[in-house]
Subunit: 449 residues, 2 copies
């Protein structure tokens, strides 16, 4: 069989384009309507996607004027979606900076059990002072410190998920012995950021632990991904950049002693579809025309860490911006945005238009054939193992992708035509079930870490 | 209409009796099977219960040998149950000692939205060093400190739930204005235990915030309940004790400036049913015969804070136990158990038998008529506003209660015969929707706090 493409549906209220909520078709209350997300999840399942995904941050963005703000907590929403779907993987973002390992490991274990092995965790360290100030801190922790904490968080979480051997439960009613205490392994962890003594209070789950996903592309982020991640979401603007990122990450993963096949790279793409290229461009223009530029300027100033009022709409982005090293926030996104503005000599207005669709992810306007061609090129030219599909408008953009692009990908043999038997999320991504680190006897499947 | 009884189904794996899992009918894997809980939730809905409830603690109890251990995280499980039910309230236990207000407030807000206003929070401070050691502490925080933190936690959570006014969302597509920033109220909280700057990233929910439930009966617990709780679960062994507790809590609530009708008192009852009293007693004996006494001794020694090996199975409980004041754990449960042992001059074996069913809650073995009589007596004699129904074996014990006791309560006019129109959990309990503390204009409903 041809190497298979992995597709993830990145769901976001009324769509990834910041102005999508203003379209006549959009429901401005979609962000709190379960039925909206159920409809999206079922559309993605109709398209035999591997998984769906919810981004998140534990703070309210600065203004609710601009676009739908606030969102159902991802693990809660995905639990509800688990009961409304059968096959698709369910990936939730959660922060290592603003959670405790015991609680978070337990929630993901619970979702993995309830969904029959379909849970995934997009591991984020959460940039920004707004989030920090909601959790007792005065300022954002330094970038390197956030990643050091994330690594220790993962080590603890992996110990907790392994703290029950798979065959702990004996269920011996006659003898009155329910479980085997010898197969419980309390972490007894004492580290820099965490002390966690006891075993998890959930048995080992169908997948062992959730699929581990990561999306930071800074140096720290790539080092972390090479060590832990099984799937990586990334924003890449050109084929060459995507190829370089792909090769770099696979190489780092091999250097970390892991099989490079066991990390799947999924760039984001915002497909703006039309029956002709001209129609697609017109659809893109409609969205751009709905952008409120004053919001865009304020957002860009925050991203570039500039004082309010610095940017002028019809001037170019200032030339004297600091390098990524001096930035404590979302480092790789910063570099991408500055690079895009300089490479294409964009005015602030043009840059806002380019970012409005996907916040730095590749926006691709075209016919279904052109989108399928772009996907196939990146997939076959060493730039991607699959894609993070980010429809500009929801639900219509996901329906359009499923109805018009998915059949082409299937016809080319790149994507499954049906799910077949039930599989775990990790099985869908072609990854083995991780062995338990506490089991000393030869394990049936190789360990991932 | 006659004053109406409130019923809550307290769900626990294979049942509240510690030996229930050993019965032939019991599924020893019930604790991780969603379908088991869906079945229970639907049975409770068939019985037109007000709510169902899951207890919890963030630790694995000492031994998995004794009985099913570990459990799906309650908020996760209740989210899945929200999609499988239509009317019943969903009450999850969560700890103020081992959560952060921002994350927990958001999760409950999400559940309240997804369930259409059916979320409840059983607020616990979590006794025990095992839990503390899973969250970076070496020992359990002192009882009074746990309650001081809980009070500040509630104040912050209430600010977060009120941080969006009900009419924040404008959805003005033409003007490009989604929400009104003037109706967002960041808590800006700086306290002893928490600093939380920003507004919640979830809009105000159908109920405003989840029904607030509390179950501690210590002095600190009762003071906390009088200030915040809208429903109270309590363990009472005699009518006289229950009447005294009821009167005390209503009086404290009035002294705190609240309407005593706005706090509902629900003692726990473990109904062991039989078609005759003799059959009910025989059913109780079957359960008691399945207790493994060595586990019971170890459990009792921990509860009474005695060294291992102190208790002898056929001797009485030692007379020289310390008073509740000297105990840092579950204070009121300690007093109840010591009082029960002394009042009835029980041996350790007998005490274990009495506690095996409900861990201190009232076990009542009898015919459906006798159980209905007991419930009616407590309800009409100033001891209860309703009951926390704790079936000894699940699902059969809940089915039996719904099929045989509920019809009697309905025939006596004490319990609704159908749900009628959809209501929030707070409406089911006859409580008003809380006003938003940040709204200065006259509110349609009186504030609770």
């Amino acid at each position: 069989m041809t190497r298979q493409l992995h597709l993830n549906a990145f769901l976001m209220t009324t769509g990834h384009h910041e102005a999508s909520w203003r379209l006549p078709e959009s429901d401005p209350y979609a962000h709190v309507r379960l039925e909206h997300y159920v409809r999206l999840a079922r559309a993605a399942e109709r398209g035999t996607f591997d998984s769906l995904f919810l981004a998140d941050g534990p703070q309210l963005w600065n203004s609710v004027a601009q676009r739908p703000a606030g969102a159902l907590e991802p693990l809660t929403l995905l639990t509800a979606l688990a009961t409304a779907t059968e096959h698709i993987g369910l990936i939730a973002t959660a922060s290592t900076s603003y959670n405790s390992p015991y609680n978070l490991a337990r929630k993901f274990a619970s979702l993995d059990i309830i969904s029959g092995g379909r849970a995934g965790w997009n591991i984020v360290t959460t940039a920004g002072a707004e989030a920090a100030r909601n959790f007792g801190l005065d300022a954002e922790p330094a970038h390197a410190e956030r990643y050091a904490r994330a690594a220790e968080f993962l080590d603890v979480a992996l110990k907790l998920w392994d703290s029950w051997e798979d065959d702990t439960i004996l269920a011996d009613k006659a003898a009155g012995v329910w479980g085997d205490d010898a197969k419980i392994h309390p972490p007894g962890h004492r580290g820099t950021y965490f002390s966690v003594e006891g075993a998890l209070n959930v048995p080992r789950t169908p997948q062992g632990y959730p699929l581990l996903v990561q999306a930071g592309s800074s140096e720290d982020g790539k080092a972390f991904a090479a060590r832990y991640a099984e799937a990586v979401f990334t924003a890449q603007q050109t084929l060459a950049d995507a190829q370089a990122f792909y090769a770099d990450l696979k190489s780092r993963t091999a250097q970390a002693g892991r099989d490079p096949e066991h990390i799947k790279v999924l760039p984001g793409i915002v497909p703006v579809l039309g029956s002709t290229e001209a129609e697609a461009r017109a659809n893109e223009q409609v969205l751009e025309d709905h952008i409120v530029h004053e919001h865009g300027v304020a957002h860009l100033e925050r991203l570039l860490q500039l004082p309010t009022g610095t940017l002028e709409l019809d001037a170019q982005v200032p030339a004297d911006l600091p390098s990524e090293d001096a930035v404590e926030g979302a480092k790789s996104r910063y570099t991408l945005v500055v690079g895009l503005a300089r490479r294409e000599r964009l005015t602030v207005r043009q840059l806002i238009g380019r970012l409005g669709g996907g916040r730095g992810h590749l926006t691709f306007a075209g016919t279904p054939e052109q989108v399928a061609d772009a996907i196939e090129t990146w997939f076959t030219q060493g730039a991607a193992d699959g894609f993070n599909i980010m429809p500009p408008v929801l639900p219509s953009g996901l329906d359009a992708f499923v109805d018009h692009v998915v059949p082409l990908l299937r016809a080319r043999g790149l994507l499954r035509t049906e799910y077949g038997p039930r599989q775990t999320l990790r099985e869908r991504y072609g990854l083995p079930r991780p062995a338990n680190q506490y089991v000393r006897t030869p394990a049936p499947a190789p360990a991932l870490v």
